[in-house]
Point group: C2
Chain length 376, copies 2
Amino acid sequence: MAQGFGFTVHATDGKARTGIIQTTRGEIRTPAFMPVGTAATVKAMLPESVRATGADILLGNTYHLMLRPTAERIARLGGLHRFMNWDRPILTDSGGFQVMSLASLRKLTEEGVRFSSHIDGSKHMLTPERSMEIQKLLGSDIVMCFDECPALPATEDEVAKSMRLSMRWAQRSRDAFGDRPGHALFGIMQGGVTRDLREESAEALKRIGFDGYAVGGLAVGEGQEAMFSVLDYAPGFLPEDRPRYLMGVGKPDDIVGAVERGIDMMDCVLPSRSGRTGQAWTRRGQINIKNARHQDDPRPLDEDCTCPACRNYSRAYLHHVNRAQEIIASMLLTWHNLHYYQELMQGLRDAIAAGRLSAFVADFHARRAEGDIDPL
Amino acid sequence: MAQGFGFTVHATDGKARTGIIQTTRGEIRTPAFMPVGTAATVKAMLPESVRATGADILLGNTYHLMLRPTAERIARLGGLHRFMNWDRPILTDSGGFQVMSLASLRKLTEEGVRFSSHIDGSKHMLTPERSMEIQKLLGSDIVMCFDECPALPATEDEVAKSMRLSMRWAQRSRDAFGDRPGHALFGIMQGGVTRDLREESAEALKRIGFDGYAVGGLAVGEGQEAMFSVLDYAPGFLPEDRPRYLMGVGKPDDIVGAVERGIDMMDCVLPSRSGRTGQAWTRRGQINIKNARHQDDPRPLDEDCTCPACRNYSRAYLHHVNRAQEIIASMLLTWHNLHYYQELMQGLRDAIAAGRLSAFVADFHARRAEGDIDPL
């Protein structure tokens, strides 16, 4: 493992694990949920508020940052941590996924991806070597290999071809990354929903050797059932003593199911994005604050939640500021959602440590099945 | 004066005064700047952050709140303080100014103003009696008389006619307000830029008797010179032992000039609105953070400022998040601007108390004349 980086599993319960990832910028309690700070900000949140929800680590997006304000500018300004006022660990993605989903005029070759910026149409090239360079300029603590995630639907042949390209890029990423004490490099398993391809990918990555391993190419529209069926076996192909990171997941029940299947880290824009569109996640499921049933409701979103939105405001207020398109609506609902997600992670960690994960999961599903509180 | 409401002048310096307004919800240090919380939120700020800038009192807008979420709904939910999570004093305007500037299909009669909502076109009527009722439902600590502010340009005859209507409405407001311990009612002087009309208005208000007196009908496009020429005499027409409130003012230099002329309270959307459009106010003048000269600048907006935006972020970061239209740009710049405004008020209060207001004002202008720091 990279110097200054470590992973210790403290307890397991079935396939689930809880432990600590050590980095030079602090510990990450696992299973961990990483809020997404795309453009050097977790939208509608101050970083100290993100920390107050319990987040140990943020995710930054290489694709967005390379385009604006550029990685070179962030490096001149002292790196991403200083730039965005977050001194704890940051994981950056490689840009591989977002260049395929956001950029235009993409041209994929063995060398990498040539594309036009979605912001101003400017031309750029991402390769494994350039992705490593950008993530180094940003000062990322956990760097992701540059990979390709094929657009769905894809045939098994297409998925296999893409996965093998990603494995060659993984080797090039490893070579370009070099030895950077205090900085970890994670490989990304691909292979779609095909068990043999997932195993082939895992073997390729293990031969190269990484500080941690991600399960990529899921949560891209295949559905929860298909995702879980892959997670039933894929984490088992990866080394037990390294963190396993499921990229881009997910809804609360996705997270619970992934943790049950041995995943240690996740990230998703969902809690923050939902907060900006009036959606709240609670123990009792999803609430659309725009709904008129909330307009006279003096109760908080969740009576048991200790976040500022629930402690200090009624559903009626949240409904009002959402309708009035006030920024505070995004601020409060994002805070609540991130708080709920972190509380869920703490619940999962505690349950695994106590060997009562199945009871926790049963309770999680039972409360959601009850649904939201009755209207007034 | 209303029971539970008081005003004590602790020191004067020339015409300027510093003191305390006592309310049942806490003290207001004067001269006071009141941030505007139009729709039950100071835009892009949590109320605890507004308080942290040093604000003792907020302003709420009757016109906006009567339309959405409605005063009746806020009353059912326990009043505006509880609704918006601000337990300190709130002053509400009467709706008179904004119904003339925002609503459509207005019809002005002796009775009041009939209009259509700018939100959904629904029909409403505002009268002195209805304005008092709404402000009571909101639970406002300082209630403003319902008045009319004539659109500019207006002839002296039109201004006189409008002022006399406002004085009849002031009497009706006083009658409708009744006796409400712990709640103060302020009259509003009108009369445009005509000294005789201002004096006539002040005499009419004093005959009725109010807990405080506002100077209305300024900061409506007449320019700073004309405003100051009215402020050279108008505050002197008002009782010395009652607070004097200049409505809708202003830029930092407007505030300084108004305080020099004996004003005790002001409000303006400028610091918060500017924050949402990339404008920052500092000791050294106005800064447009959008300007490309900031994109590589590691320095804070103002090296001497202790607000979170200046303590934790570079101009380069603020430039980036403004360009990327991130919500944090509005949050940080609004915070900075409100912080600067409150710091300016504290500086004015301290200077008046120490009898060195003219030195403070000279320094204020000198620092602004220096302009912003040199580019890198």
